[in-house]
């Protein structure tokens, strides 16, 4: 087989097809048969295309309306937990803007900076963390520490995570969430990070 990729992103075998077989809309693949008229079947509620406007099998929940012209905008299903995941404070390009920084002032990668975004920023060694300190072996992979930015109060807080190790703020142990101020130094494992805010009393998004 000689696999190639077409401009639409389809993967096809050039030794079998001189051109992408999926780009014709996939209608050439398979026999096009006219639809049956079984509205009684529960598998689909599809009406023959020749007659009434099509009523697709997967239809939005409130489609009691069968006729295209009378369809009001589809209302979402009323359920107690709407909006499972909503992004807060997202700008036009869908990026959560920078709120502050943690800069490594002591440690293997001295000088390296990390961005702080809104809400919780997880610190740890694994790269699933927002702030990934992959150069310090004494830091746990997950559950290291959490820096959180609260949009409402425009403030930053540090709290300890679920891991074993302790973290220190200006050499004092962090046992309860503490507020972060400019030039505070966090010690996580063997790395020291200095905090600088971008969003503060003089600026807010």
């Amino acid at each position: 087989m000689e696999m190639k990729q077409c401009t639409s992103g389809h993967f096809y075998d050039q030794s079998k097809n001189p051109q992408c077989p999926y780009c014709s809309g996939g209608s050439d693949i398979g026999v096009t048969r006219p639809l049956g008229n079984e509205s009684g079947m529960y598998k689909t509620a599809q009406v023959s295309y020749a007659e009434a406007p099509a009523f697709p099998k997967t239809a939005p929940i409130n489609s009691a309306m069968l006729y295209r012209d009378n369809i009001p905008p589809t209302m979402p299903l009323n359920s107690p937990e709407t909006n499972k995941t909503v992004a807060l404070q997202v700008n036009e390009q869908g990026i959560d803007p920078v709120r502050g920084w943690l800069v490594c002032v002591n440690g293997k990668k001295k000088g390296r900076d990390f961005r702080i975004h809104s809400e919780k920023n997880f610190i740890g060694r694994s790269n699933s963390n927002d702030i990934c300190i992959d150069f310090d072996e004494t830091i746990s992979r997950e559950g290291g520490a959490i820096v959180t930015y609260d949009v409402r109060s425009n403030k930053f807080w540090i709290q300890s995570g679920d891991g074993k190790s302790n973290i220190y703020l200006n050499n004092n142990i962090v046992l309860v969430p503490l507020e972060l101020n400019n030039n505070d130094v966090l010690t996580v494992g063997q790395t020291e990070l200095m905090f600088m805010s971008f969003c503060n009393s003089s600026f807010k998004w």
Partner: protein, 293 residues
């Protein structure tokens, strides 16, 4: 005097024996080697995709991969696999699903590799939804929409996002696991049943059980399913994206059996076997498979 030398016929049936060597034909394809960490460690990716119209009049499913031919591109930017199942008559379903797939691949090109991926994938879905809602709602069309499932592979991790009832599965160590949640009414009814507010009968027989509760094209986009921290890939993990035309028409055991082969041969066989069954009203079927080793 007869000399009857009847050779006693050996009437006992020959016991069937397991043959000494049996070869299960495994169809394979070449893979592509990709660098997966800062030390230069490599992994091999294999990709497959296949599609069929089923017994419908038009193909409303769309799908696509970002660049999967250049090892350099994959090592640098990762891979995005997108699949969308369009719905709505008069080809709007196709337009929407096609737009969603190409928009997703376009947005993948501007991913920021220093920011969190789950958030970027979620934003991508919301942005696509806004763009579609503007274009389609503005013309007074409604009821048109599409599901959307996208899987993003970068270094050793796998991130995904999903809206609607298309599915993402992971095949790991012979076990098949569905990774996303179906956004259809049946799911809600089942939750109600488990909370004691409804009955299993109502759930199974509700007229609108297959209707979607969240999909692209819906102004509000009630649910977006995604993983928050990325799933670490293990050797020989296989990720599958497919529309309901596939999962409603094949048994899990057959599915898994075919997926033991390499992706491209596997998807072709799966599609072939479903088409052969000639199921009435067979929906559009699309499947994408990614193997990591």
């Amino acid at each position: 005097m007869f000399n009857l030398f009847h050779k006693k016929k050996d009437t006992t049936k020959k016991k069937s024996k397991i043959s000494k060597t049996t070869q299960i034909p495994k169809i394979s394809q070449p893979g592509i080697d990709v660098v997966i960490d800062d030390l230069g460690t490599k992994a091999t990716f294999k990709f497959g995709n296949a599609q069929h119209i089923g017994s419908r009049k038009t193909q409303e499913d769309s799908f696509g991969y970002s660049n999967i031919i250049s090892s350099n591109e994959i090592s640098k930017k990762g891979v995005l696999a997108v699949l969308a199942d369009g719905m709505g008559g008069l080809s709007h379903g196709k337009q929407i699903s096609e737009y969603a797939v190409s928009a997703a691949i376009r947005m993948f090109e501007s991913f920021d590799y220093t920011l969190q991926f789950p958030q970027q994938l979620e934003n991508m879905v919301m942005k696509i939804n806004n763009q579609i809602s503007e274009n389609f709602w503005a013309n007074g069309q409604s009821n048109a929409g599409s599901t959307l499932v996208a899987a993003f592979f970068y270094k050793t991790k796998f991130y995904w996002v999903s809206v609607g009832d298309s599915r993402i599965y992971i095949l790991r160590n012979g076990g098949l696991y569905q990774v996303n949640e179906d956004h259809d009414y049946l799911n809600e009814l089942l939750v109600k049943y488990m909370n004691g507010d409804s009955s299993l009968d109502i759930a199974k027989n509700h007229m609108q059980k297959d209707s979607l509760t969240s999909y692209i094209g819906n102004e509000r986009l009630p649910y977006i399913d995604n993983n928050k921290r990325g799933l670490s890939l293990q050797k020989n993990d296989t990720i599958i994206l497919c529309s309901d035309g596939i999962y409603n028409s094949i048994s899990s055991s057959e599915f898994i059996l075919q997926l033991l082969n390499d992706p491209q041969p596997a998807v072709e066989k799966i599609v072939k076997s479903i088409v052969k069954k000639k199921i009435q009203q067979q929906d559009n079927l699309t499947i994408m498979v990614i193997n990591y080793n």
